[in-house]
Symmetry: C2
Subunit: 504 residues, 2 copies
């Protein structure tokens, strides 16, 4: 009798803590969103203190002894819990156990170094001067390794870092996925290089006034199902999506006058993230289950919309006439030319501008470098050389300067080791989910051509969105597709799409 | 030795708590600002929970036992404290002692009723149906009276409510100020009615495209000294100013196409509040001293800029040519006609549209009603009748319906009894400060004519802004002017300005 009543109390503690953490998380998001979007420049000092205060509040709530005791007792009685409470326990326990192991001095030191380091990276990138950045990177790496040792791991310290972005993902698992993806990608690249059909790529002028770009992307976002009553869109330098509360999921865009497809792709991408967050079952709102599963699963949603849908001929069958109506200067653009333009496969130096095929090679290079850095197999000072030789080997091109090479991404400068793989995991999950979706909706392409995006969104809602973080990434993959994650679905998608385009 | 070291600790607790309360206050402000300005409509539920969570955090920090003990010990050793620490102790102790006496159930119940009541008021105002609103008002009144009894008072329960907005202000003090102000105002009104010169008021078309209004108000705000690097301006339905951090003080405006003077006055008014907050001494930033003294003192700053400056002929000597340059359709507007238009004295029904002279009668009516309501001398159901008869007595006009009478203001519906007097206190403080300012800067008017607003702002900065909440309202009044607050300065200002205009 007493045991049961105490279990009930522990469950209350678990649920309430998760609710409060969620509230605090939303407040932190607002502080961050406002800082990027509307905060006046001189507000940065005050905002830093507010953010640090709320972050500490979050951390202290997460590592509270009361919560720790409840987690322990609930884990001893897991069988008595419902599915959702089990999942809640798993999620909170995962974060709790990691957080309590990391000394707060290390967290603080890391936060301070990351701020300085990001500024040093900005300067180094501008001047293409890796050497000036290397000492900062070494410091961050040292602290990250310290964290890995404190948290503990089975096989590789890198697992601790991967787990920050993709819970339960390991180096070992990636070593089974990525080499195959790399080989298959290189095969496709070779097929494209040796393609048999003669592709005449017409130069198209993609420039469009920004107000027209705003109108068009708005029209697309609404049509895809983004709810502007539960979100909004603003302009920033580097687009992102932010969850403030269940019915307040905001996206941001950057417009380039000379090429409307950039803001379009990015709007669809961020819209994809937002649709995931807007699609939860009402029953789990404002609980610790009301969140995306992982960075990889989140990315699968945004990339399905951005690439699988937004770069397909079916999408443009529907939207090109709308685009021409809105902006008659585009009236002479042919569908096939536009598709060639937005789908051209060509090895290039910069990850964020890479096409769907070569993109994963950029990620695999970073993954291979990260894991060797963590293992100490390569040193920080060797990075430019390793980077360049891998670029040459996988993509056949080599950056002339480090700003186009090892210095191009912000991630490492702010300690985000283990983040890059989630981009490719997103592609792989997207490939496997899309395969199943097309089986479930056999006339999917025809529907898209007619502007029926609801069938696609509903599938995602029912299969993925509504569950929030009830399942883990591998659980949801198995639940939906019956299989573990496998690169073959994404590879098949590439072969099919680009085979048709390049005639192989 | 031990006593000293403990005193030091208590001082640390006082200072740290005040810093944290300040941080939390800024976060609450951002939540509120965002809700009014940019939050999507469906975000309201989540925002309510976030705001309640942070409000509770604030409340719990304020009523903490640790703080209470430190306050007690510090108050026993007040002589050993510096001026600023004494002030900090006074401010925090004032809030602490009030907060600990109010049962949290009452706070919660009141918050809930206020939310419903405001909605009921909106409906009642729309339908001019006081009876439907009366039960809500009665409930709020009952809870407010309960709070007054819990907090305790010397002479009148109304003092507890006044003190929420104007610390240390009492009914007794207002009873010495307001009747005189009322009599003198009625005298001025009679003089205007019986004026001897023939005023020919030309009808002016004040309509201006909204983008031009934005440009003009921007130009004015910059010229007056508002720092856009430490603030920003957005559009809302009901303008307000918000302090998010020391270098992040935001204003809001509403534009009316048909009359540019509305957005202008309101911009200058909110700008005046913001200038007060932007003007602190750096040494007190992010402490409990970094805040305005009271609603009355705050209002004195906004009203000095809005009325004393913004409606003066000196202001328009400088700005009318700039306005005409920006919007040539105004080129035929004569300075004297514009001044008559924006300064016309005429009894009217709605407080927020009242002129500088009649405005205080609107406030005095509300003050007299509030104190009698609290005393039980009048009942909620009698409100419309009392309102209308006072309007007739003081202003000579009577509303035809309650939406233009007792239902016009939102304040009572959200429990803000004791707020209204601060508007008139603002006028009186402004009058007394302005009198001194003109003595200190004898050529003030000439300087304003030439666009030198810096001399005025610097005076305010040195005399008022930089001190934040180091002094109380009566202390700063005495410090600046050598006298206690007296209505005569404001009355003299009115007599001088309107005597010139209306020839008496």
């Amino acid at each position: 009798m007493k045991r049961n009543s105490s279990l009930k109390q522990d469950l209350e503690i678990l649920r309430n803590t998760s609710k409060e953490l969620k509230l605090i998380h939303g407040i932190l998001s607002l502080l961050g969103w406002d800082q990027e979007v509307y905060m006046p420049s001189k507000g940065v000092l005050g905002r830093g203190k507010q953010t640090a205060f709320i972050s500490e509040l979050y951390h202290n709530k997460l590592i509270s002894k009361e919560l720790g005791n409840s987690i322990e007792k609930l884990e001893d009685n897991k069988d008595k819990l419902t599915r959702n409470d089990k999942s809640l326990l798993r999620n909170i326990s995962h974060d709790y156990k990691k957080a309590v192991k990391i000394p707060s001095e290390v967290v603080k030191e890391l936060a301070e170094i990351e701020t300085i380091s990001q500024k040093a990276w900005e300067k180094a990138k501008k001047e293409s001067d890796f050497k000036s950045f290397a000492p900062y990177l070494s410091k961050i790496l040292k602290l990250k390794l310290e964290i890995c040792e404190k948290v503990g791991y089975k096989n590789s310290p890198y697992d601790v870092l991967l787990d920050d972005f993709e819970p339960y993902m390991t180096e070992e698992k990636l070593d089974k996925l990525f080499p195959k993806l790399r080989e298959e990608t290189i095969k496709i690249l070779n097929k494209i290089k040796n393609n048999k059909i003669n592709i005449v790529k017409k130069k198209i002028n993609l420039s469009m006034p920004i107000d027209k770009q705003k109108q068009f992307t708005l029209l697309v976002l609404k049509k895809l199902g983004y709810d502007f009553g539960a979100g909004r869109r603003d302009e920033v330098e580097h687009p992102f999506t932010t969850w403030i509360s269940a019915n307040d999921v905001r996206i941001t865009t950057h417009y380039y006058k000379e090429d409307f497809t950039k803001a379009l792709s990015s709007s669809i991408h961020e819209g994809g993230h937002a649709l995931y967050e807007q699609g939860r079952d009402k029953k789990i709102l404002l609980t610790g289950l009301d969140e995306g599963i992982s960075f990889g699963i989140h990315e699968s949603q945004s990339r399905t919309w951005e690439n699988f849908v937004g770069r397909s001929k079916y999408f443009w069958k529907y939207f090109l006439p709308k685009l021409k109506k809105l902006y008659p200067k585009f009236k002479s653009i042919q569908e096939k030319d536009l598709l060639l333009e937005i789908n051209e496969v060509k090895p290039s130096l910069i990850r964020i501008y890479a096409d769907e095929v070569t993109y994963n090679l950029h990620i695999i290079i970073r993954f291979e470098i990260e894991k060797d850095l963590i293992k100490g197999k390569i040193k920080v000072n060797d990075l430019p050389e390793v980077w360049n030789s891998k670029m040459k080997e996988y993509l056949g091109i080599k950056p002339k300067k480090d700003s186009e090479g090892v210095l191009q991404d912000v991630h490492w400068s702010c300690g985000k080791f283990g983040y890059f793989p989630t981009y490719s995991l997103g592609n792989l999950y997207a490939g496997q989910f899309f395969y199943k979706m097309k089986k479930d909706i056999p006339d999917l392409n025809k529907r898209i051509e007619k502007g029926d995006f609801a069938c696609l969104l509903n599938w995602m809602r029912e299969e993925i969105h509504k569950f929030g973080h009830i399942y883990t990434a591998s659980e949801i993959c198995k639940k939906i597709t019956g299989k573990d994650l496998d690169a073959k679905y994404f590879v098949n998608y590439l072969n099919e799409k680009y085979g048709e385009m390049y005639g192989f």
